[in-house]
């Protein structure tokens, strides 16, 4: 049991006719940052609620730190820290009062576990007499993390911690998570941001309540088998519609200032190890072809580049299958 920090087996949960989570199974190893990646409505929060003992699954079993989420929920609540997606601390209490309150409720003191939160709390210290409701998004998040950590949980659940926080604060936040992992806390984090996915040790891609893939971020991108290009021109909207019509099976979507074009995987699918060379060979003759095609469609300032797949590309690919 103890070899897995979180163990979910065939979890399902429906709200009326809506199946929020369908037969989901996954394991999280101790001391791992495990990401649940998926768009809004994929079932991330429902899974979190089941695993934090707030919601009973319709079917399936789950254990966290060796404790069953249904039977042992009382013990479990001592050992987990949960940061809900929405800021859920008392906005009318100050930073310090919030922290003190949660420490008290868990039967501990701030001093006892100060070492764990020190790195985060020093940034909050100048505002400790400010009401939580008056903090900035990034500061609120840090306070929420402090409150979730104050009882030294074994497993930390972070539901969409990146939402509503500026990029710099997000980056800092992830650095903190890495430090926490190093002090032996297992972290389950959910996010809709694909760039955050790459910072996890392992991720599960979630779509409409089902898991599409579980792997390391590198493993997931390495499994991407379609030739991928980035393209742009002056008229991006038309570019995307035109490229979709390039050949059967071609997929094109906006990706930052470029559009990503995924061509159909070749029938003779190359093995993962030989993929880069094959890919570049196909690329070399594909790029001029695409450029030519776009010129005939009347595009100006055309740019077509070879690119490697990110988690987002993999996600879109998996979603379309």
């Amino acid at each position: 049991m103890q070899t897995k920090s979180i163990k979910a087996q065939n979890l399902s949960k429906a709200y009326g006719p809506v199946e929020a989570v369908k037969n989901v199974s996954f394991d999280v190893r101790p001391g791992e940052i495990f990401g649940l990646i998926g768009p809004d409505g994929a079932g991330k929060t429902t899974l979190f609620r089941i695993l934090t003992s707030l919601l009973l699954p319709d079917t399936g079993q789950a254990s966290v730190d060796g404790l069953d989420v249904v039977q042992d929920y009382k013990l479990l609540r001592q050992r987990i820290g949960y940061m809900p997606g929405r800021f859920s601390l008392y906005q009318d209490l100050t930073v310090q009062e919030n922290l003190q309150f949660f420490a008290n409720v868990f039967g501990t003191t701030i001093e006892k576990n100060y070492a764990l939160i020190r790195d985060i709390y020093v940034q909050l210290e100048p505002f400790k007499h400010r009401r939580a409701g008056a903090l900035s998004g990034g500061m609120k998040q840090k306070l929420a993390l402090c409150c979730a950590l104050i009882h030294k949980p074994r497993v930390l659940f972070l539901d969409e911690p990146g939402t509503g926080v500026d990029p710099v604060s997000r980056k800092e936040f992830w650095e903190m998570l890495r430090r926490l992992r190093d002090s032996d806390i297992t972290i389950l984090v959910s996010t809709a941001y694909m760039d955050e996915a790459e910072l996890c040790d392992r991720v599960a891609l979630l779509q409409k309540g089902e898991i599409l893939a579980i792997d390391t971020p590198q493993g997931i991108t390495a499994n991407y088998q379609r030739p991928l290009f980035a393209a742009r021109s002056d008229d991006m909207y038309r570019l995307i519609t035109d490229l979709r019509a390039l050949e059967p099976g071609a997929d094109c979507y906006a990706f930052g200032e470029y559009a990503h074009l995924a061509l159909a995987a070749t029938a003779t699918r190359p093995t993962t190890s030989t993929r880069p060379t094959t890919s570049s060979r196909r690329t070399s003759n594909a790029i001029p072809k695409i450029q030519q095609y776009l010129e005939t469609k009347g595009h100006t300032n055309i740019e077509v580049l070879n690119t490697t797949a990110t988690i987002e590309d993999c996600f879109i690919e998996l979603m379309h299958n």
Partner: protein
């Protein structure tokens, strides 16, 4: 138990920090007691009287003057046509018409009997009833003090009623209203506050954070109810002080009994608020649900209309009206000086009520979402 203390401490921090809360808790009982006690007035004064005097004799003028001097009526006008007087009544310029027939004085002196007609606008039945009552009294008093020379020889009316009003000898409505209003306000405020406070945790989302802590259900509930329980005592103290300072209401009974009773009654209202919060998803829903019940409780509690004169089904319905018990208790103890032995049935009913309501609330409260 320590966890409960932390929860209570947190609750008080929030209450005292809320700019709105403290004034509401202290000012509301004061203002409501003063305002309602003066405004929720059973006495009808300054009734506008239209006079149709067909007689124009010294006696008829004296009678009209008696009306004017009574303090209840002001003479709006004196006309000679019933039509004009009726029109004034219809236009709401007058509340009452006193019509004195021709030869009123002559008949009264010669025959020992006179007749006057009184017409009241009964749109407001309570007002009309009172107005006619006052008018009757004035006419009777007048006829006694101006006994007809013919009638002197006759025996006076056979049965005369001598009356006295116990426990409120001067029929001062304030004495009657203030204790009741105190009960009503406390019921209202703590029921609302409890319901809204718990729903707020749900609405803002803080309950989700609390629910993953090892706080037990009973600790959470006690942590929510205790602060408002204490506040109900403070409100009672403030209210009684105002009642005593401003209205000089009698306090015949034991004040400790009043506070002891408050301690039992408050959980009743807390429990109702708590129960409502279990079924409401937003503060708005809680607010309307609480209003629905409180309005019925307050209108039927006997504060404004006597419970005994309600139809039987309403009286039966009133057995589940906690405010009724409180108002009844307050009047009995403050005005009549009832002791515990006198009110113990009421006391234990409310105690049982509190137990049932809170039991239901605890039972329906779920920590899992």
């Amino acid at each position: 138990m320590r966890t409960v203390l932390y929860l209570v401490q947190k609750e008080f921090l929030q209450i005292f920090r809320n700019k709105f809360m403290l004034p509401m808790l202290l000012v509301m009982p004061v203002v409501q007691t003063i305002l309602l006690s003066y405004a929720a007035n059973y006495e009808v004064k300054n009734l506008s009287l239209g006079v149709v005097d067909h007689d124009l004799s010294p006696m008829s003028r004296q009678l009209v003057a008696t009306f004017g001097a009574s303090g209840y009526f002001t003479v709006y006008n004196t006309v000679f046509s019933s039509k004009i007087a009726d029109a004034d009544l219809a236009r709401d310029r007058t509340d009452l018409i006193l019509e004195i027939p021709p030869h009123f004085e002559r008949d009264y002196i010669r025959e020992g009997a006179g007749k006057v007609a009184i017409t009241a606008n009964a749109i407001n039945a309570v007002k009309a009833g009172l107005a006619i009552g006052y008018a009757n009294n004035i006419v009777r008093a007048y006829s006694l003090s101006h006994a007809s020379p013919v009638a002197v020889n006759r025996p006076p009316a056979a049965i005369q009623v001598e009356y006295s009003n116990w426990y409120n000898p001067l029929l001062d409505y304030k004495t009657f209203m203030v204790p009741g209003i105190l009960g009503e306000i406390i019921a209202l405020i703590i029921c609302f506050l409890t319901a809204l406070n718990i729903v707020r945790e749900r609405e803002v989302g803080t309950i989700e954070q609390l629910n993953v802590t090892p706080i037990h259900k009973w600790q959470f509930i006690l942590g929510k109810l205790l602060p408002f329980w204490m506040i109900s005592l403070v409100m009672m103290t403030v209210g009684l002080t105002v009642g005593w300072l401003v209205f000089r209401i009698p306090m015949l009974g034991n004040l400790w009994l009043v506070f002891a009773y408050t301690l039992v009654f408050a959980p009743c209202m807390l429990g109702i608020g708590f129960l409502i919060s279990n079924f409401a998803e937003s503060q708005q829903q809680a607010m309307f649900t609480a209003w629905f019940f409180l309005l019925i409780f307050i209108l039927m509690c006997g504060l404004f209309t006597p419970v005994d004169s309600m139809p039987e089904w309403a009286q039966w319905l009133n057995t589940i009206n906690p405010v009724k018990y409180f108002v009844e208790f307050m009047r009995l103890v403050l005005l009549k000086g009832a002791t515990f032995a006198d009110i113990q049935q009421n006391f234990f009913t409310v105690l049982g009520y509190a137990a049932v309501v809170n039991g239901l609330a605890v039972w329906t409260y779920r920590k899992r979402v």
